[in-house]
Structures are given as structure tokens and as C-alpha cells.
Symmetry: C2
Subunit: 405 residues, 2 copies
Amino acid sequence: MNATTPANTTASQATISESNRSRILQHLYHHGVSSRAQIAKALELTPAAITKITARLIEAGVIKETGDIEGSKNRRSIGLKLDTSHFRVIGVKFARSLVQIGVFDLAGNRLSLDNLPTVSNDTVWDTIATIHTKVNDLLANDKRIMAVGMAVPGPYLRGIGRIAVVSSMQEWRKVNFLREFADAFRVPVFLEQDARAGALAEYLFDPDITADNLAYYLVGEGVGLGAIDNGHLINGALGAATEIGHVSIDVNGRPCDCGNVGCLERYCSAGAIHELVNATDGLVPGSAGMSHAEACRALFALCEEGDEEANHLLRQVARFVGYGCVTIFNAFNPSHIVLGDIVSEAGAPLLNEVRRVVDERVISELNDSTTITLSGLSTDAAVAGAAAVAITQFLEHPSVFFDVT
Amino acid sequence: MNATTPANTTASQATISESNRSRILQHLYHHGVSSRAQIAKALELTPAAITKITARLIEAGVIKETGDIEGSKNRRSIGLKLDTSHFRVIGVKFARSLVQIGVFDLAGNRLSLDNLPTVSNDTVWDTIATIHTKVNDLLANDKRIMAVGMAVPGPYLRGIGRIAVVSSMQEWRKVNFLREFADAFRVPVFLEQDARAGALAEYLFDPDITADNLAYYLVGEGVGLGAIDNGHLINGALGAATEIGHVSIDVNGRPCDCGNVGCLERYCSAGAIHELVNATDGLVPGSAGMSHAEACRALFALCEEGDEEANHLLRQVARFVGYGCVTIFNAFNPSHIVLGDIVSEAGAPLLNEVRRVVDERVISELNDSTTITLSGLSTDAAVAGAAAVAITQFLEHPSVFFDVT
């Protein structure tokens, strides 16, 4: 038998070790302080492997030993801890007219948030320059920041670094995010489609979410979806899967900039709602001069006050959000659908109408086994999704961040 | 540190070994005769691991040593081989009115095929009984058969064992496939939704298909989809994901038995085509008395003869097949879409119209990077999908079939 080259042998061991390191970090992240024995039991790893890997993680400063904790049979054992407050990431969320930059700890606690000036088609490049400056300033002032995550509207072409379709503000299409940011800072940068970033945020930061089949349904300036199937984020060949906003709900319906007809986004995005509001007889005074988000929030405020016309309009929109939900059931069969971003701020009246549509149109076995909730993360905190992208990379590929080998 | 229980330690080692065994078998399956060094290099496994695992696989009779093969630097080394003709599986495909039972070798070569008498709503239970008898007969006569794979129409509720929706022939809904078949034979039985089975067949048996992002688009008595994303079959929480036939293409369209409105299946399944043919002024004489498949094939024959009305009707249907394709692009972004089952027999005229719709409606970057082809497996061979379900299990979980530990 020929021997393999040492490089291959090493690669093999490195791959397995990195996978085990990642599993240990994820266990500590999700379960808090744990003993080596508890980790070994949960992950079905040998005590020897745990001892070796945790020693290197402690040496590299990634995890720490805490005082004794109660083990099984009342034996005391040393606890291990991933100190989520010790490391930080920057999240940058791009949402056409709004760019937000936040600093987060690993648990998803937001330490600062910076809303950049409203972006117009003319100021896209100024905004890019501002992001460079601001991120560099943040990095210079806080050595604990170890990565930048960015969430960009889909369909985002991962390999190319460009957004394929932007319904308004065409200048965004010209931005190559990879070229602009991939090697721009002292820490690694990770880019993800925004709804997929949102799914990661729900998965990491919401303690009530335990599903391995999770869909984050972003209804905001765009309409998007991030779907986790059995623990794997569905990506597609180019990273352009789960683009629910461009799935047609009416093949004879409204044309969309993407080339398709009847795209869901044309019926229930913040922009579509803004159009509906503008078309009323002054339901929201001055709505024409508002941003999409402002117009939506003004509508939702009227709904809360009991305004009948406003509530009628909201129900109309909610039915379309519901049709999107029905498609999510049949295309992805998640066990939990989280509705987030601007439009989800409409709250209970929206959710009730969505559930009504789902009750009418979804197979009962699927409906019965699926939870639909509003996101527990506030819309301003949607930038948390961008942070979650970076944190996920840290948990999955620790050796990129620390010398743990 | 507390020691883990021996059971956990064992489980850990067993999991890793099974995974490596599986990877070695899959390598031999896809690449043919290989030396231990070639396998070690391709899989980044240590020579020691390869030696140990292949020794056990040889001992258990799963793989064999062949004569010397040419290694690197002209050194000779011993070849290893998975003899795909030595092991056999039974595939059973359920398609409402047609049930087929085939015997296959591991390479997907069909050794026998049995079309059961056309099933009506009244003969569903007789058919179940016949399957029991026929499979037992096949197993009694061929000791090399080591598993049964079954492909059933979706939405198939994997945990419960039932089909959730059947648009015609309601008796099928009462069949619990798990209860009927899971423990019925001397070999293990594996069940899968039919389009997902088709995706596995394309992935395993078609040498031209190398994509890790593959969609098999089944357009037959039902309309279904099996999607492989980065090598993982998308399942959903209950196994009811990728039910493209019940994704609405028109939320104000035709009602469907599933409760949804405008389901794709209502526009381009073999049954929908049959209805269209029946509604013509005798385009296909005697069509009302035909099966759906017969009516479709009669229509396609007329198309080939150049009949204008027939071609017009086909183009109309093909546009709907195309709308489904557009949804597949935006929901799953595969790099290869394979169109299969009865309707795909319409051939080039169908495919051309589907491509026309896709050219009109899909983002160019996605369109440019995605291949759409007709299945190379003939419709009768669609039962190969059922066989592929069993073969996939063998390749992924060899210890279920052989004592290799």
C-alpha cells in the first residue's frame, strides 16, 4: 500500500478535530457551563478527545474553567464556560435605504447601534465609504471584536458578491460586496442573504426556538426567507435558494423587476404597503413623503387605534403574507415559522389573519405540527442577524479565529 | 473528571467508523476500482483507518480485492471493488393507478419488472396483498436481495406512514405504509416520497449528473419535487418539504383537494392533461376511457405527427410546467433540474417551451448557471427511484446490512 502524503493525513485529522472543537463550542454556547463529562456524554466523544480539545481551547483563551459544579451522583467536577461577553462581533445590515451597524457580544446582546443616514440611489457609494470608516473606527477602539458579519438583501449571488435584483435603488446592484469588504478589515468578514442571517439570529439568540427545521420569514423592504432544514441552512447552488419574495403567487399577476410575474414581494413588502397607503384617500396624511417603514408604522398605529379602513387594508396585506406562509409550508415544511422585520410590527392582527389563511389552505397534519410566531427580536435588532452570521462562523470554524490546533 | 459510560464511548467510535465506512463505499460506488492509497487521498483518511475499515468490509463480503492496478508513479497497488452486480434490491413504485415492482442490481440495472394490474379505488387493498406475496416470492428466490425500497406519492408523512393528500383514489389515504411494510419482509424496507426517490436515482445512476445541487421535477400522475441541496436531500420536519405540486401558482386559481388554491398539480399533471384532452372536440378518440398516462401518450404521439391542435395544447401545458420550474429556481436554486415521469415523455417540444418560460421569468445569473434536462431514465424505469432509496441506505448505513463492525 502506498502511503498518503503527510498533508492529506493532517487534513483528515484537522477536519475531524475542527468538527469536534466546533461541536464542543456549540454545546457550551447553547447549554452554558458544563463539565467535561457532561460534554462527553452529550456529544458522544471520548473523554480523551474532550480533554485534549478543551485544553487547547483554554490555552487559546476561547473557553475558561469555572469553579466546581455539581456532577452526576453528587460528585463535584470543574465547569467549562464559553464567555460570551468576552468576545464581540460587528453586524452590518443593508436594507436598501437603511444601513445599520451594531456591535454585539456572542450572546447577541447589542452593545451599540448606529443608524446611517437614509440612503438614496445617489448616496450608495458614500454609504459604502462611511461603512469602511465606521467599522475601522470600531475595530480600532475594541480589540475584543473578532469578526464582521454582513446581511444583504437577496437574491445575493454568494460567489460573485452581488445582489442580483434590487427593485428600487439600482445603484446597489453595482456594489460588489466581496470586493468592497472581504479583505477590508483586520478581522474576517462574512456575508449572507438577510433572511438567512435572520434565521441564524433566531436559532442562536432566541432561547424559545429549539427547532432544527426553522424558517425565518422576513417581510420588510424586501420579502425573503431563511430556511434551516434538519440543522442545515438551505443555500442553493449560487446561494440564491429560498427567495420566497420572488416565488410567484399569481403567474398572471404583477410584473416584477426580477423578470418573474406575480412575485410575492409585489403584494406585501413595505414598499407595496406604502403604495396601498398612498392610494387611499389620505388615510395616512403626508404618506407620500415618508419612507416605506414610516408609512407602514403609521398604518399600524392607526390599526391599533381601531381605524376601520386601516384594519381593512392590513387584513388585505396579511392575506398575502399568509399566501407566502402557505408556500413555505409546502416548499419547506418547517416546524417553526418566525415572521420578522418591519411588517411583523403590525403584531397580533397580522398574525391572526396569516393563521386564518394557513388554516384554510394548508394540509391539517402540516398545520398542526407547525408553530407560527412573531420574531422576538425587534426590527432595529434585525441587525442582530448580521452579527449571527459572524458568530455562526466562530462556532463552526474556531481555528479561523484562534490558534487552537 | 468523570468517565463517560462505555456505551457512549462506543457510540462515538461507532458513529465515526460507520461514517468512514459509508464514505469508502460511496467512493468505490462512484469511482469504480480504486487502491487504498487513492481512497485515502480522496477522502483525507489516514492509511491506518483505510486498512482497518477495508479489512472488515472484505471479511463481511461487501467489497473485494481485484488484481493489481496502476498507482501513482507507476507503482502497482491492489485494487478494491464494490461488486454492484453481486447485491440486489427490490424497488416498489406506487403511482395511484400503477404499482410497479422491479429488481435491480446496485448499479441501477433493472433485472426484472412487474407491472401490477391497474389499481382502482376498490382494489387498493388487493394490491397491497399482492405486493406482499410478490415481494416475498422474489426474496425467497434470490438470496442476493438485501433491501426493499418503496417510492410513494407525496405529501408523504414520514413519521406517520401515510400519504396526506391523494387527489383521486381516496382509499390510498387509508394505507399506513409503515404498518403494512416496515417489518413485513426478511430484509429492511425503506420508504420515500416518489420525487425524492427520483432525485436519488438520478444522483446514483446517471453518470452525466454530478451536481451536488440537483432537483428532480416529477410531472406525472402527481407533480412533485426532490431537491438535493449541497448533497443533502431537503426533507422538512415531517418529510413533506419540496411539495411543488401543492405550491400555488395562482392564489385565486383552481381549488385543490389539499385545501390550497391554484396548486401547480391542477394545471399540468397527467390528470390535468387528460381533462384538457377530454374537453377538446375529439382530438384523441376514446380518450375518456383511457388512463391518464394513455391519454397523455396519445396526445404526445399526435404532437409528433405534427397535429397543430395537439401541439397548441402541449405548449399550453408546458407553460405551466415552466412556471413550476421558475418556482424551483427561486425556491431551491439547483444547478441541474431533471424533468421526469409521464409528462416528460413529450420530449423536445415540452422542454423548449419550458426553457422559453424560464428565459422570460428567471434572473439571468440563475438561468445561466442552471441546466434543465429530460430524465435519462425511462418512465417505466422510474421504479428505479424506489431501488435508489434502498441503495442509498446501503451506501450510507452499511452496518444495517452487514456485520462490518
